[in-house]
């Protein structure tokens, strides 16, 4: 036999007035509902989408070696022109998907001084060249040893594309494959920017 106090007999409910019960229920439910609402705000948002930090900021300058045939592409030389910097890699399926869009934009705007620069990301030069040959890429392609430029641009992965106005400001950034409409819209916007002195 135990020395503890015996257990109390069951108390029947229905002693408490109904109003105070409802009040407790409401009191308990309100924070829970608020919690559910908070969770609801996260619905429909892409958890992987990240805001663009560099838009509106000066574009990081670089001078990177060409993929083939020596020499470098230097951003300083490109000042005064609209530059589309596209980060890509041979192992990237979406880079393949967006290639036609870039090609079409390049063809349309090269006479107006727009230049597309493809920066290789986390890849070997041979694989990059093979990819470029296969897709007949004819805009400047550079290597990014040590991914310094990718880091400077805050690249998460490929493909990522930046549009830079003639005065060196990043006017647009796209994470993921670009399409022709987006490219033309952004390039036109950048072309309208008054040139810096």
């Amino acid at each position: 036999m135990r020395l503890d106090a015996p257990e109390r007999p069951e108390t029947r409910e229905a002693d408490a007035p109904r109003r105070s019960r409802w009040r407790t229920v409401v009191l308990v439910s309100v924070p829970l509902a608020a919690f559910a609402l908070l969770l609801a705000t996260s619905l429909g948002r892409d958890p992987r989408a990240l805001p663009s930090e560099l838009v509106g900021e000066p574009a990081p300058v670089f001078a990177l070696p060409n993929l083939e045939g020596g020499g470098t592409v230097d951003m300083a030389d490109l000042r005064g022109r609209v530059v589309v910097v596209n980060f890509w890699a041979s192992w990237c399926q979406e880079c393949r998907d967006e290639h036609p869009a870039l090609d079409a934009a390049w063809d349309r705007y090269r006479e107006r001084g727009v230049v597309v620069v493809g920066v290789l990301f986390e890849d070997t030069v041979e694989d990059g060249l093979a990819f470029a040959d296969e897709l007949a890429t004819d805009w400047p392609l550079v290597d990014d040893p040590g991914s310094r430029t990718a880091i400077a641009y805050g690249v998460f992965g490929v493909p990522e594309t930046f549009v830079i106005s003639p005065d060196g400001i990043v006017t647009a950034k796209r994470v993921g494959p670009v399409d022709y409409t987006w490219l033309t819209t952004e390039i036109e916007d950048a072309l309208r920017t008054p040139e810096a002195a």
């Binding site: 036999m1 020395l3 990240l50 805001p51 930090e53 560099l54 900021e57 986390e122 040590g146 991914s147 310094r148 990718a150 880091i151 400077a152 641009y153 805050g154 690249v155 998460f156 992965g157």
Partner: protein, 158 residues
């Protein structure tokens, strides 16, 4: 002083010592140490952009490796850890910091655990002292006889 008060003080002191020690230890500064150590410190506070929830220090990916060497060259060139972190935040946003800054709304996740602990300890102390002194006094003689009888019954062999 009474045994109970002594006990409370003892418990409280022990707890305070432990918590203090751990908090101090876990917040140890990173001013000294080799370059490697300093890189490790900064890198373990930055989030690898191409991995899931790994720090730049832990991540095996190539980009993380290059970020580490970027951190190393910046620290070597004389940047403070704050400046190096700022460099990455400028490019990747606040997201790249593995622990939120303690400003504005971001204070909330830092305060909640501490507040919770204080509240919890307070609730505990309140619940545990409700009846003071405790209502169990020494057993009465009738109870003692009962206890003895039960003890004897228990010790019966078999």
């Amino acid at each position: 002083m009474s045994g109970r008060v002594r006990l409370w003080l003892l418990l409280g002191a022990a707890v305070a010592v432990v918590v203090l020690a751990v908090t101090l230890a876990s917040g140890r500064g990173s001013d000294g140490g080799t370059l490697d150590d300093r890189v490790q410190d900064v890198a373990s506070g930055l989030r690898c952009p191409v991995c899931q929830n790994l720090s730049v220090a832990d991540s095996p990916s190539a980009l993380a490796r290059e970020m580490r060497s970027e951190i190393a060259s910046r620290l070597d060139a004389g940047d403070t850890p704050e400046e190096v972190r700022g460099f990455f935040v400028e490019r990747y946003g606040e997201w790249v910091l593995l622990a939120p800054t303690r400003e504005g709304l971001n204070l909330l996740p830092w305060l909640v655990p501490v507040a919770g602990l204080l509240l919890g300890v307070g609730v505990w102390a309140m619940l545990v002292r409700r009846r003071w002194p405790p209502e169990t006094e020494a057993p009465t003689s009738a109870e003692r006889r009962r206890i003895q009888a039960e003890l004897d019954a228990l010790e019966e062999p078999g």
